[in-house]
């Protein structure tokens, strides 16, 4: 019973914050609501016996991505000016499409007889994940580090201000 109560509290936190992210017209409010969504998801991970993934989520999402997003919002916008009325798809069609998609998938979830294990193990996972990364998943793990290096260099190259000389030469050639 207590697990169910915790689940529903976390679910309300996650879904409510995600709804603010999706529906708020103020981009700064959306960004701060993203914090609630990520924290709720961290709680859900803990409830799913994924302690290591929950901590990584906390470090990477809340500590990294959220701060980065907040910086980008602050750097690109006058802080509270976004009340755009005409949108990419339009709120109503987008709402209908997402609601229909969610409805179909929830229907499918309840109709599918998922193959489940009879024995559910709730145990610390760090040891097993470490062994998996250094054993069967060693190659993807190394490839991931290359992807991260490429992303790092790419981000630096892209976000560096354009060299004036290059820019003048380009405009002269036109």
């Amino acid at each position: 019973m207590i697990a169910q109560a915790i689940f529903y509290v976390l679910a309300v936190l996650t879904v409510g914050s995600s709804a603010i992210v999706a529906f708020s017209r103020n981009i700064v409010r959306s960004t701060f609501a993203l914090l609630g969504a990520f924290m709720g998801v961290v709680g859900i991970y803990v409830l799913l016996a994924a302690d290591f993934v929950a901590m990584i989520q906390l470090l990477v999402y809340v500590g990294g991505i959220l701060v980065l997003t907040l910086f980008a919002v602050m750097l690109t916008q006058g802080i509270a000016d976004v009340t755009i009325s005409n949108r990419a798809v339009g709120r109503l069609p987008a709402l209908i499409i997402s609601a229909v998609a969610a409805g179909i998938m929830i229907f499918a979830v309840f109709r599918t007889p998922w193959r489940q294990s009879a024995r559910i193990i709730v145990a610390p996972t760090t040891y097993g994940i470490g062994n998996a990364f250094l054993g069967p998943y060693a190659l993807p793990f190394e490839l991931a580090s290359i992807v991260l290096l490429a992303a790092l260099i790419g981000a630096v190259v892209i976000s560096r201000p354009l060299d004036r000389g290059v820019s003048n030469r380009l405009s002269n050639e036109e």
Partner: protein, 104 residues
């Protein structure tokens, strides 16, 4: 799972988060807002991975995959936001409908 929670609880939660992220991606014109919607969608996929990892018998494959998803989400956010900032420096807007100078 102690306490009467089933796989469907977690799947439905992740689907609701996914639908909200989908709505966010489709309805926003602010590029950063679109990236936030993508983050929501990736989080919902991760909830699915971990739910199946737990209820499918406690192997580590699902958890390892969710870690890869988190890693790629971080790379995607870094490069995406760098592109957004570069566009903003050039065009003074991040409205995705206005950034059509690359159109042939």
């Amino acid at each position: 799972m102690p306490g009467g929670l089933t796989l469907n609880h977690f799947l439905v939660l992740s689907l609701i988060v996914f639908a909200l992220g989908l709505f966010c991606v489709m309805s926003r014109r602010n590029a950063i807002g679109i990236l936030m919607g993508v983050e929501l969608i990736l989080n919902s996929a991760n909830i699915n991975y971990l739910a199946f990892a737990l209820f499918g018998g406690g192997r580590y494959d699902g958890q390892v995959f969710s870690l890869f998803v988190i890693m790629l989400a971080a790379a995607e956010a870094v490069v995406g936001l760098a592109i957004v900032l570069a566009i903003y420096q050039d065009l003074r807007t991040i409205d995705v409908d206005a950034t059509e100078t690359l159109n042939g």
